[in-house]
């Protein structure tokens, strides 16, 4: 198809399209470039009223300041624990649930599916208030559990809905063959279905990772007294005071916070594109 489209686009137009694609890429990447650049600028230069798009004397001062901030490393680790736990647990639970709703026929199956769909629409931010009291009653306030538990619940409906397409795409004949060969249901589930659905799990996990890693509201509302249990977004705000922001510190912290996600995205990039195509085509 790409061939066809390309052949029918006339040469000057294609050139114009490619130039604009590159320009747009530059504009889209610019904030990230500026973030990294500012993180490496020495203290005086970043607060210059003539900002330059390069720096002649890159410095690690801002990074030192950030990591010198008590417990920044701890915050980073907390964020990682929260995001990885949410991704792993919700992927596992969603896989089982998606298998149930695609591979079995049972009472209330359609009702459940619609429930998952509706659950996606619940504005989780509005649930901060009841969740606050719930976490208090569970004794989870000021612990990472208060960040992990709700995010697992919120990422599940979307994950199940998305994985459904992948599980459906696995031919039932495969199941029959496995059955005839004497594989138990559990064995089929984990040794055949799971690897086949894995690309879908990767695409899904991008969304749960982002939501957990990004979380600002819950960290702000549920981690109120024990700051050692806080996460990166909170650590960043130590440097961002609206009246007098330490821009170097904010940008260094932002860079540190963005890099793990970037690595994750680049790793899953190809699977993400094919995954989204597969999930929504369904």
């Amino acid at each position: 198809m790409r061939n066809l489209v390309r052949r029918s686009v006339r040469r000057p137009w294609r050139l114009a399209a490619e130039v604009s694609a590159l320009l747009i890429a530059a504009v889209v990447a610019f904030p990230l470039y500026w973030m990294v650049l500012s993180a490496f600028k020495p203290a005086g230069e970043i607060e210059s009223s003539e900002p330059r798009p390069w720096t002649l004397s890159p410095s690690l001062d801002s990074f030192r300041r950030v990591f010198g901030q008590q417990e920044f490393g701890r915050y980073f680790l907390n964020s990682l624990v929260v995001a990885v736990t949410v991704v792993a647990v919700s992927a596992l639970i969603a896989f089982l649930a998606a298998t149930a709703v695609t591979r079995f026929r049972f009472r209330f199956r359609t009702t459940l599916l619609i429930m998952f769909l509706v659950a996606q629409m619940v504005p989780v931010e509005a649930l901060t208030i009841p969740l606050f009291f719930q976490m208090r009653d569970f004794g989870q306030l000021n612990t990472l559990g208060a960040l992990i538990l709700p995010h697992i619940a919120f990422s599940l409906p979307f994950a199940i809905w998305m994985l459904r397409g992948f599980v459906k795409a696995v031919p039932e004949a495969l199941e029959e063959a496995a059955h005839i060969d004497g594989a138990s249901r559990t064995r089929f589930l984990w040794q055949i279905l799971f690897p086949l659905v894995f690309p879908g799990l990767v695409a899904t996990s991008v969304f749960s990772f982002i939501s957990a890693w990004n979380d600002f509201l819950f960290a702000k509302s549920f981690i109120i007294s024990d700051t050692s249990q806080s996460t990166l977004p909170m650590a960043l705000l130590v440097f961002y005071k609206p009246d007098d922001p330490d821009w170097g510190g904010v940008m260094a912290g932002s860079t540190v916070m963005t890099i793990p996600v970037l690595i994750f995205f680049v790793l899953v990039q190809r699977r993400l594109v094919s995954g989204l195509g597969g999930a929504v085509k369904d």
């Binding site: 390309r6 694609a21 990447a29 619609i114 931010e125 619940a153 059955h179 990004n214 085509k281």
Partner: protein
């Protein structure tokens, strides 16, 4: 309502022999979304296979598989929604939380307070206008760039794709602070480049909203772009070749072949954008410092947060939450109708 008719009768149902085998589904099909209309195999849908998969003979197994999901969603999503509704009918402030005073049932008291408050209507209007502007801009940019991606060779495509993934990967808090620095009146490159002097973007109501909108579009168009692009790629090339052999123009191919095939994808990205943009919290909170000067940049989410956690009016905050929930549920219903009209099988 039960799904059993489908499972039992599917093997016997020929693709053309439409709704016959599901008498029980009968008249309720139209009205209740929970009942769903896809009980009977329809003409044109995938014909049912002769045998059922061995997994399908489950008994309690599907419920076993579903149990963890149902427990977690029930406990941490459904129950909090119920509680949100409950608190919205209570007088619930610091005094009740600390146990100093008993909670008292208020009926619609919180809602009455809310609806009489002029600021609430102003925030509601701002939320709807702001979120709609975000959705429209995100979709327009995302779709346009997805089309652009199909027209260029590998290198520009990779460049744009990577830049977009970078924007997508940027956490909301970081994105917000970076955009603030870019548009900073004293140290930002944008004002220099545009020759705006020390114009402050966050001071005025509209320019502050515009700045947040730019950031929101920047970090959310990649989802639309990648998804729509993946959708275009998934269209079989034979279809396009056939259309082109029949002498269809490029525009005609887009309008009559691609657009209808992409419709399900467009519905999904639209709805997701609506959901995300109605719930924008971090960007507004960080970029306008908690809702702007004198609350000029509040949206419902931030407003609810301020009411509940800053002034301890949990009942009032919950009522705002319920209003948001209802708005998004209305969107869901529209979504379900769209899916249904397409004959999507659940």
């Amino acid at each position: 309502m039960t799904d059993r008719p489908l499972a039992v009768s599917a093997p016997g149902a020929a693709p053309g022999a439409a709704p016959g085998p599901a008498p029980a589904a009968g008249p309720a099909v139209r009205e209740s979304p929970a009942g769903n209309a896809t009980k009977a195999p329809r003409p044109g849908r995938r014909p049912a296979t002769g045998r059922r998969s061995p997994l399908a003979r489950g008994g309690w197994t599907p419920w076993l598989y579903l149990a963890p999901a149902l427990v977690v969603i029930g406990g941490l999503l459904v129950y909090p929604v119920y509680q949100l509704g409950l608190i919205s009918f209570l007088e619930y402030t610091q005094a009740q939380v600390s146990g100093g005073e008993p909670t008292s049932f208020q009926g619609f008291g919180n809602y009455a307070t809310l609806f009489r408050d002029e600021q609430f209507w102003q925030v509601l209007l701002a939320t709807v206008v702001f979120a709609s502007a975000c959705v429209v801009s995100t979709l327009a940019v995302g779709c346009a760039l997805a089309v652009l991606l199909t027209r260029v060779r590998a290198v520009p495509r990779l460049a744009l794709m990577l830049a977009a993934l970078g924007a997508w990967a940027t956490p909301a808090v970081t994105g917000s602070t970076v955009w603030l620095l870019l548009f900073d009146p004293d140290f930002g490159p944008v004002n220099r480049a545009l020759g705006l002097g020390d114009h402050s973007w966050t001071y005025g109501r509209y320019s502050a909203f515009a700045l947040v909108l730019l950031e929101v579009v920047w970090c959310s168009f990649p989802f639309v772009m990648v998804t729509v692009y993946a959708g275009i790629r998934a269209v079989p090339s034979e279809v396009l070749e056939a259309a082109s052999l029949d002498g269809a123009s490029q525009w005609r191919i887009w309008r009559s072949v691609l657009a209808p095939m992409l419709r399900p994808i467009l519905v999904v990205v639209t709805i997701q954008s609506v959901i995300w943009d109605f719930k924008v919290f971090t960007q507004i909170y960080v970029m306008t410092n908690g809702g702007g000067i004198a609350g000029q940049n509040l949206v419902l989410n931030v407003y609810a947060y301020q009411k509940a956690f800053a002034s301890s009016q949990y009942g009032l905050g919950s009522a705002i939450g319920v209003v948001m929930l209802l708005i998004l549920l209305a969107v869901t219903l529209v979504y379900l109708r769209l899916l249904r009209r397409q004959g999507e099988e659940l």
